[in-house]
């Protein structure tokens, strides 16, 4: 029992170190009456993709995900101002919600609508600038907005443009790492260009879906692995979807990155820790560095630690963040995790807890290596 407690403690605490970290920051306007459903789909898809990116790049993940009541300007500014990085970290900011631009906006980037009033709008470019100006700047910063960029006379201009372009250089390592870990610099992208609208449907927003699809194609080895190619292909796919709706809506981007000298990690994808204790414990349960017996004996303590009882519903979702590919009780779920040999990451999509903090419902996506 002491050994089990030690292993639990080890996995909960030990990796609060200087491991290279992927910071996923999501702001999603899920409460909006018109687009909230689609935004929620985007939120789940990007959350899942962030977990996959972190795993594929052998990085620890820090999650800064906000939706519902937390989708507001104060929370955004608080997050951007308080977040801390090390020089080898990657920061990926994703916004999904309404957006617009002033008629006299000097920048081509949209303003993110984090509330109903002009003062609640924040320029996407400002988000990039705040992250660039951190005392320790992350190695790679990506900011992306899935929102309209249409003009509104009630908006005032916010921040002015900055930055330039650098052509990416290819490397020969794993494709995800070519796009993230092996690069430094900044990338800014919005789903529509000045004066244009963005679109969504019951399966999420067109740009986000197009980007995710092309990202998957490229990391699977279908095409040149660089951000400009990725965005060009995304633009084409987006145009194909919108050709009958609005052929004049297309994304815009600026890629300002160079390749790094490479990391000091091993080539194999291994489990990296998560900032959330619950996910960390699950990853510890799945970690093959522990013996089979040790992992099996972790099941009951973790069940008691995190879940209300052994029959709590757990739904495992596919990569689309929508299809429930497996349903299990909490006990069954933990038992399965205690035997898996290839799990490298987890993304919690929904978690309900009772007043004691015990989980009463869980929706999760699992990331495996092959």
């Amino acid at each position: 029992m002491k050994r089990i407690r030690f292993i639990l403690l080890f996995w909960s605490v030990s990796f609060m170190t200087k491991a290279q970290t992927f910071h996923g920051i999501i702001f999603a306007n899920t409460f909006d009456a018109k687009i909230g459903h689609s935004v929620n789909i985007n939120y789940n898809k990007m959350l899942t993709e962030f977990a996959a990116i972190a795993s594929a790049n052998n990085m620890k993940i820090e999650q800064h995900y906000f939706r519902d009541f937390d989708y507001n300007k104060d929370k955004l500014m608080e997050t951007l101002n308080n977040i801390q990085f090390s020089s080898q970290d990657i920061a990926f900011f994703y916004h999904t919600g309404h957006g617009g631009r002033a008629t006299n906006d000097k920048t081509k980037w949209p303003q993110l609508a984090l509330g109903d009033y002009d003062s609640d709008f924040v320029s996407l470019n400002r988000v990039l600038e705040i992250l660039k100006q951190k005392s320790t700047r992350p190695q790679l910063i990506i900011v992306m907005s899935q929102s309209c960029n249409s003009e509104s006379s009630s908006l005032t201009a916010k921040e002015s443009i900055s930055g330039g372009n650098t052509v990416l250089e290819n490397s020969t390592s794993d494709n995800y790492q070519k796009l993230f870990k092996n690069l430094k610099g900044t990338i800014i992208v919005s789903s529509s260009s000045p004066g244009q609208y963005s679109y969504s449907s019951g399966v999420g927003s067109t740009f986000t879906n197009a980007w995710l699809k092309e990202l998957q194609h490229i990391v699977s080895g279908n095409g040149e692995v660089n951000w400009n190619t990725l965005f060009e292909r995304t633009k084409q796919r987006n145009a194909e979807i919108l050709k009958h709706t609005d052929p004049n809506s297309y994304p815009q981007w600026e890629v300002n990155v160079t390749s790094t000298s490479g990391g000091d990690d091993d080539d194999d994808i291994t489990i990296k820790t998560n900032s959330e204790v619950f996910v960390n414990d699950l990853l510890g349960l799945a970690n093959t560095r522990n013996t089979e017996i040790e992992r099996i004996r972790l099941v009951r303590p973790l069940l008691q630690k995190h879940f209300d009882n052994e029959f709590v519903k757990v739904q495992i979702l596919g990569k689309n963040g929508k299809t429930i590919v497996e349903r299990q009780s909490s006990e069954r779920f933990l038992k399965r995790l205690s035997t898996t040999r290839r799990l490298v990451g987890l993304a919690v999509l929904e978690k309900k807890t009772n007043s004691n903090g015990k989980i009463t419902f869980l929706k999760i996506h699992e990331i495996y290596k092959r």
Binding site: T323, R332, R336, T339, T340
Partner: protein, 202 residues
């Protein structure tokens, strides 16, 4: 009469307590192409797990407690938790493969008379497209390659006595389940496993 009624009610309750397969021709529940793609990926994860579990169950270095636990997990991957699921095995020393109930196969695997057993994936698996095979039921077939090697021990060393690579096919099903309170949901499970080809490996 009372006994018969109670017994019938008990059977109904037991059948309803867990999910049951839907078999009502006019109750089609939609499954999109994207859903099928997600289930196909899940099936791939299950196949990887299956192959990993076999290597644990066949290993002579694991205690019985571990092998029993992994055997239980293996059965969870299959339809009806492995009941009436069969596994075909072959040998380069025999002309025809032999078919066992899955549970029997796992017991035999755990107790093979070698000093050391190695079972591992010998190649990338492939899953076919899913095809509708009935109301609310889809089927696909996966091809896997499995290497099996058995060793005898002479003092400190292990000597390979047998080694083969077998191509096997695994049935995969996506079907609709229904709980006692009428909730319907799709589920993916593995089915029978057959031998396609066996070749010696050196």
């Amino acid at each position: 009469m009372n006994t018969k009624l109670i017994f019938s009610l008990l059977i109904i309750v037991l059948l309803s307590a867990h999910g049951r397969v839907i078999a009502q021709p006019d109750e089609e529940v939609p499954l999109t192409d994207d859903d099928i793609k997600q289930f196909k990926e899940r099936a791939g994860v299950m196949i990887d797990s299956f192959q990993d579990y076999l290597s644990i169950i066949g290993s002579k270095e694991r205690p019985k407690e571990v092998k029993v636990y992994y055997a239980d997990e293996t059965l969870e991957l299959f339809i009806r938790k492995g009941e009436r699921v069969t596994m075909e095995v072959s040998s380069t020393r025999r002309t025809y493969p032999t078919r066992y109930p899955l549970k029997t196969y796992l017991q035999r695997l755990a107790n093979l008379r070698y000093a050391k057993v190695e079972i591992k994936q010998a190649g990338i698996y492939h899953i076919s497209n899913f095809y509708k095979v009935g109301e609310n039921k889809y089927r696909a077939v996966a091809s896997i390659f499995q290497q099996f090697c058995g060793y005898s021990r002479y003092g400190d060393r292990y000597v390979k006595r047998y080694c083969d690579v077998t191509k096997k096919t695994i049935e995969i099903y996506i079907y609709l389940m229904e709980t006692w309170n009428g909730e319907k949901y799709w589920i993916v499970k593995l089915g029978d496993i057959s031998v396609a080809d066996t070749t010696p490996a050196y």
